[in-house]
Amino acid sequence: MRHVFSVRVGPVGFRVGSDWRAPIAQLETLYAGYPKPEVPDFSVRLFAARPWRRFLRPSVMIGGDFVLPEAAPLPLAQGLLAAEMGMNLQMALGQRRYLLLHASAVERDGRVLLMTGHSGSGKSTLAALLSRRGWRLMGDEFALIDPETGLAHAFPRLVSLKNAAIAVVQAAASNARFGPLLAETPKGAIRHLVPDADAVAAMDRPATPALLLFPSYGHAAAVREVPESEVFVRLTQASTNYVALGERGFSALTGLVKAIPARAIDYPDTESAVAQVDALWGGL
């Protein structure tokens, strides 16, 4: 491919090939502090559907080792988002070493707080905010659970902030680095936060899961214990490769569910959420 970028994020190496220079240049800037893989685990391709679409109303198709049929192309201005989506897709469809949970993860004293929920629940925002308050960011999109050890591995990709969360995190992390503001994407406005250098420096250090939260934004503050059976079912839905891993996936997931407590927290604003997290963490 014309332009190529490669990066290692936690234990996973990617290469991204592109028909255009612009998305590759953005990746190079934003992932400047990351190491390179020797042989990438996954390939992502950003390409024009027809040769003339490189120049004429350029639109970016997402390809790679693993693809979804009929994925819609994005305008070139959102090429960075296309690359990030492509990398997510490789993980979601192709990752077989770790049980993948659609969750954010932060670490403190060698113990991991996992937060999972639907898009809009605030898991990325909370992970970004906690990472400014003494927690190590392990990832905002996928938590990687090793079926052999039960440990969580860090996967600190760019943190994807959406819509109202952008201003909240910018206010709390004025000295952090951000990507360009991507307006009017299929998911609304998106801006990427670059994980701090400590998170990248420590990304090869796995840690033990200690607490699982199901945050839910937009309600009066409340905490509810979640029974193991419900946690199990919700995590099978939050995992993209639980079925594909077969018995290893089942063992890893049941092991995790039995090992750590789980709470559903409702919160009206991020300040209360952080206070709830502090209280629950302190009570462990």
Binding site: M1, G13, R15, G17, P37, E38, V39, P40, D41, S43, R45, G63, G64, D65, R96, R97, A244, L245, G246, R248
Partner: protein
């Protein structure tokens, strides 16, 4: 290794002689893995490279591919068992085809092989019963289009595909190995009569085709039906089957089905890719151009050669007037 542009030959060479992987640099490995994934042969490659010294990152990728193939094997056998249970009350012979048959029979072709749908063969006279039993056991229609449905039932060698509503897995129920519109008519009764039972002790058990018929089916699928998509994997199957069972009596069997031309081509091409090389003619070399049309990013290359084989596949599948009508209806629906 020089930085000549990689194509399917890179994968073929390493499958043939895994030791040659020692000369690959990081870029060569990256290409090889991209090509193997695109050809759905990463599991096969990983099995072939077991025990060969490879870089650490590559070793992890290959170990994952082996684990994934093993899980695929377990899931494929479970799917076959589900079909067996659904069809057992009918007391009809159920013959596994393609990948599921290779892993169920423990054949070399099944080592690391990716397996998608479950393909089975049943007697044509009883295919309606089989369909009813599968529908009752939770399989559902995939195609809702009346033209496609009618086309399958009238002209194809299989039922319209069914998908299981809980397990999300497809089953293709065949009554022969080539479409009824093809000019060649294999002996479906002989395929069933010579099938090899897998577990003799169980009534209503499963079987596989005889070794030679497995090879005939692979060749028929590749050259008399398809546009050579997935051809590298199919020819690896052929290569493994001849290695395991030899070719004695194969000529007669292939001739009996009217498929000797296809089988002999499959043998020559499999040998060119994975064996000693040898006697590929000019037309064979055109096939090889198509089969290896893949780059290190896993992209399909050589669009003109691909298009030519695509047109050819339709030409083989049906007579000209019918082809014209079929393409007309398909085009009208697409636009």
């Amino acid at each position: 290794m020089g930085r000549a542009v990689s194509d399917g030959w890179l994968l073929a060479r390493i499958l043939r002689a895994p030791g040659e992987a020692a000369v690959l640099d990081a870029a060569g490995w990256t290409d090889l893995i991209g090509i193997a994934r695109a050809e759905q042969m990463i599991g096969t490659l990983a099995m072939r490279l077991q025990g060969v010294a490879v870089p650490e990152g590559v070793a992890r990728i290959l170990a994952d591919a082996r684990a994934s193939a093993e899980q695929g094997r377990v899931a494929a056998l479970w799917e076959a068992e589900a079909a067996r249970r659904a069809l057992a009350p009918l007391g009809l012979p159920v013959v596994l085809l393609k990948g599921t048959a290779f892993v169920a029979g423990g054949h070399a072709a099944g080592q690391g092989r990716s397996i998608g749908d479950l393909d089975i063969l049943v007697p044509r006279a009883r295919i309606d019963e089989a369909e009813a039993a599968l529908l009752a056991a939770g399989w559902e229609w995939v195609k809702s289009d009346p033209y496609d449905d009618a086309y399958y039932r009238q002209w194809m060698h299989e039922l319209p595909p069914l998908i299981h509503r809980d397990r999300d897995r497809m089953i293709d129920v065949h009554h022969t190995i080539l479409p009824l519109t093809a000019r060649i008519m294999p002996d479906a009764a002989a395929l069933l009569a010579d099938a090899v039972p897998l577990r003799a002790e169980k009534k209503g058990g499963l079987a596989t085709l005889s070794p030679h018929d497995m090879l005939v089916h692979a060749a028929a699928h590749l050259f008399a039906d398809g546009d050579l998509a997935g051809g590298m994997r199919n020819l690896w199957d052929v290569h493994c089957l001849t290695g395991e069972f030899g070719v004695s009596g194969l000529t007669e069997r292939a001739q009996h089905h009217g498929l000797w031309r296809e089988v002999s081509r499959a043998l020559r091409l499999a040998d060119a890719l994975y064996g000693g090389g040898g006697n590929a003619g000019p037309v064979d070399r055109l096939y090889l151009r198509r089969l290896t049309a893949r780059d290190g990013w896993g992209r399909a290359t050589r669009p003109f050669v691909r298009q030519a084989f695509y047109v050819r596949s339709h030409w083989l599948r049906m007579p000209p007037a019918m082809l014209a009508r079929h393409l007309w209806i398909k085009w009208r629906k697409a636009s």
